[in-house]
């Protein structure tokens, strides 16, 4: 019923993976620098190319043969019916699928020419380059708001000195559009915030470790419309400095905030999810190439 139309598979020619400067930095997590400018080849803008990626849970094939270009410094939206593997693919990008026993991914996902899926690349290093924001806001309850922002550094045992810490916290909270709301209660627990504020705190926490990419899995689905609007605005703003990939069930949201939309679907329950089509959001929403995409966007799906 659905024709699989992979978008342009640009084969990014990489000078032998780990030999590139970014590859070297990613392979050794301990030497990973947290400098303002991420290491990488000149002109790196955090673009990703996903090539022939399949994801398995044990023997169950959940996502099959996805090839997709994700532009740097832009918002890419993953849309599609429930169970088509959006979350699975998203987690494969920063290798969070490895946390689930039995889960594995095949294929290659390159970030500025470095294959994140390669064996010799440390998943810990990948995750510090590719951050993640979850569906349910999950600030660390045993930490203050301030420490939540610094959490990535604190966990690694790299808590910055007082003044540097204050400066970083202010910058990240400003960036997450949260500073004005919390600047007087930085020492309070992250639990004391509203759901929308907590989610923005989680975004501040994710960008404090200076990733190139921020992945968001339905970041607004647990939030009220006002908070959702705040996060949407924030995502647009983040795309100036980060590559943002967001999973959403909200078509209007995908249309409002994304530059590129990728539509996934599955033939029937139990079948693997596949990429149906992807392209500039305007084109996907106004003139999709595949009928299934139009049906889904117009709410005529299932």
């Amino acid at each position: 019923m659905t024709a699989t139309v992979p978008t342009s598979i640009t084969t990014t020619t990489t000078p032998a993976g780990a030999a590139s400067p970014a590859g070297a930095a990613l392979a050794a997590s301990e030497t990973l620098t947290l400098a303002a400018e991420p290491p990488g080849p000149p002109g790196a803008v955090g673009s990703m190319s996903i090539t022939d990626v399949s994801c398995y849970y044990g023997s169950h094939l959940a996502v099959a043969d996805v090839s997709l270009e994700i532009p740097g410094r832009a918002v890419t939206a993953f849309i599609g019916p429930s169970g088509c593997g959006k979350s699975t693919l998203l987690r494969a990008i920063n290798r969070m699928h490895e946390v689930i026993p039995g889960a594995r991914a095949e294929g290659s996902i390159e970030l500025d020419g470095v294959d994140l899926c390669a064996k010799e690349v440390d998943p810990v290093a990948v995750r510090s380059k590719v951050g993640m924001v979850f569906q349910k806001p999950n600030p660390f309850p045993a930490m203050s708001i301030k420490d939540n922002v610094l959490a990535g550094l604190i966990i690694r045992g790299q808590r910055p000195r007082a003044s540097a810490a204050d400066e970083l916290v202010e910058r990240c909270l400003e960036r997450a559009h949260l500073w004005d709301e919390v600047k007087d209660r930085l020492k309070k627990s992250g639990d004391s915030l509203s759901g929308g504020q907590q989610q923005r705190l989680c975004i501040a926490r994710a960008i404090a470790v200076q990733p190139d990419v921020v992945l968001m899995d339905e970041p607004c689905s647990a939030l009220d419309p006002i908070s959702t609007l705040a996060i949407e605005e924030l995502m647009r703003d983040l795309a100036r400095d980060y590559t943002v990939v967001v999973v959403t069930h909200n078509m209007a949201q995908a249309n409002r905030i994304s530059d590129v939309t990728a539509f996934f679907s599955l033939a029937s329950a139990g079948q693997p999810g596949r990429l149906v089509e992807s392209g500039p959001t305007g084109q996907i929403f106004s003139a999709p190439k595949v009928a299934a995409t139009r049906d889904y966007i117009e709410g005529r799906f299932g």
Binding site: V99, G131, F134, G152
Partner: protein
């Protein structure tokens, strides 16, 4: 009425009457109400029966021991005392030292095992074996733990060696499974979300455990540890075997017999001198002190967690 309202209708008198009818119809039958009464009566009786011994113990200890609850009790040992006077300072110090050493052995080991079970073990074989071992340890009679420690120290340091440390090792065997179980339970309560969030920030698993999981669980872990201490602080049998008894002060855990509160009570009671009343009184006063320590620990286990959580928050 509320039924009608939730259905979005205007409540009418008829509706109200309907509701009344159905409500009275759903009233429990006489038989059920009688059964209910009998059952709750039985429960109240059972609770009262269980509370009676507790009340009696407190009453007995208070009436017989309160007179000796004087300053001398807390400032003297039994060195050279044969009749009236004397005190339990040596036993109190011994209990604090032995219990402290036990906690120092049992808490790190127990916590390490719990961390292994919750964070790394999963379905692995070693995890299964560890769980089984903990189950067995829970049911080891304390006297057997005492014998094991006695045998161990006899082998290492020569036959008949007695010391506070040997006592602590025996008690640790009893406390470790308690700590493992309570810690495992608490660690499982830490949401998986937080672990994922920590990992997604780009940090190795053990660092996420140290910086996120343990601090989040700290209040519960503390409570579990304090309850573990309360569990072993009244143990007598293993200490009789391996820590022995003395009338004198001993601050050295590694060497020589060391008196402890439960053993003090036991010896005051079992080997009375001529002035039996003096020995009885000291035994009951010792019992009062021991009960007070346990109650304080129990209260601390309840009061500490929120306090710690608050401290961490305001830091």
């Amino acid at each position: 009425m509320s039924v009608a309202q939730t259905l979005g209708k205007q409540p009418t008198a008829a509706d109200a009457a309907d509701a009344a009818v159905t409500l009275s119809a759903s009233r429990p039958s006489l038989a059920r109400r009688t059964k209910n009464r009998i059952a709750s009566g039985a429960v109240v009786c059972a609770v009262a029966l269980a509370a009676i011994p507790l009340a009696l113990v407190i009453w007995a200890a208070l009436t017989r021991g309160i007179e000796r609850l004087d300053l001398a009790l807390f400032t003297n040992s039994m060195w050279g005392v044969v009749g009236q006077g004397g005190g339990l300072l040596h036993a109190l110090v011994g209990t604090l030292l032995v219990t402290g050493a036990t906690a120092l052995i049992a808490i790190p080991l127990g916590l390490a095992a719990a961390i292994y079970l919750t964070e790394y073990g999963g379905q692995r074989k070693l995890a299964g074996i560890t769980r089984r071992a903990v189950d067995i340890m829970v049911s080891i009679p304390s006297i057997v733990a005492g014998l094991a420690a006695y045998a161990l120290f006899s082998l290492l340091l020569g036959p008949g060696t007695r010391s506070g440390l040997a006592g602590a090792v025996a008690l640790a065997m009893i406390m470790i499974p308690v700590v493992v179980r309570s810690s495992e339970e608490v660690l499982r309560l830490v949401p998986g979300d937080l672990r994922e969030a920590g990992l997604a920030l780009g940090s190795p698993r053990w660092r996420v455990i140290r910086k996120i999981v343990l601090p989040t669980a700290l209040p519960g872990l503390t409570a579990g540890a304090v309850l573990g201490v309360a569990r072993i602080i009244g143990e007598t049998a293993p200490l009789l075997l391996v820590a022995g008894f003395t009338d004198a002060m001993n601050y050295n855990l590694a060497e020589g017999r060391m008196a402890t509160l439960p053993v003090f009570i036991y010896t005051q009671w079992s080997s009375k001198g001529l002035d039996t009343a003096a020995y009885d009184q000291r035994a009951w006063a010792g019992a009062l002190v021991l009960m007070a320590v346990v109650v304080v620990l129990q209260l601390a286990a309840r009061a500490l967690p929120p306090q710690i959580a608050k401290l961490r928050r305001n830091r």
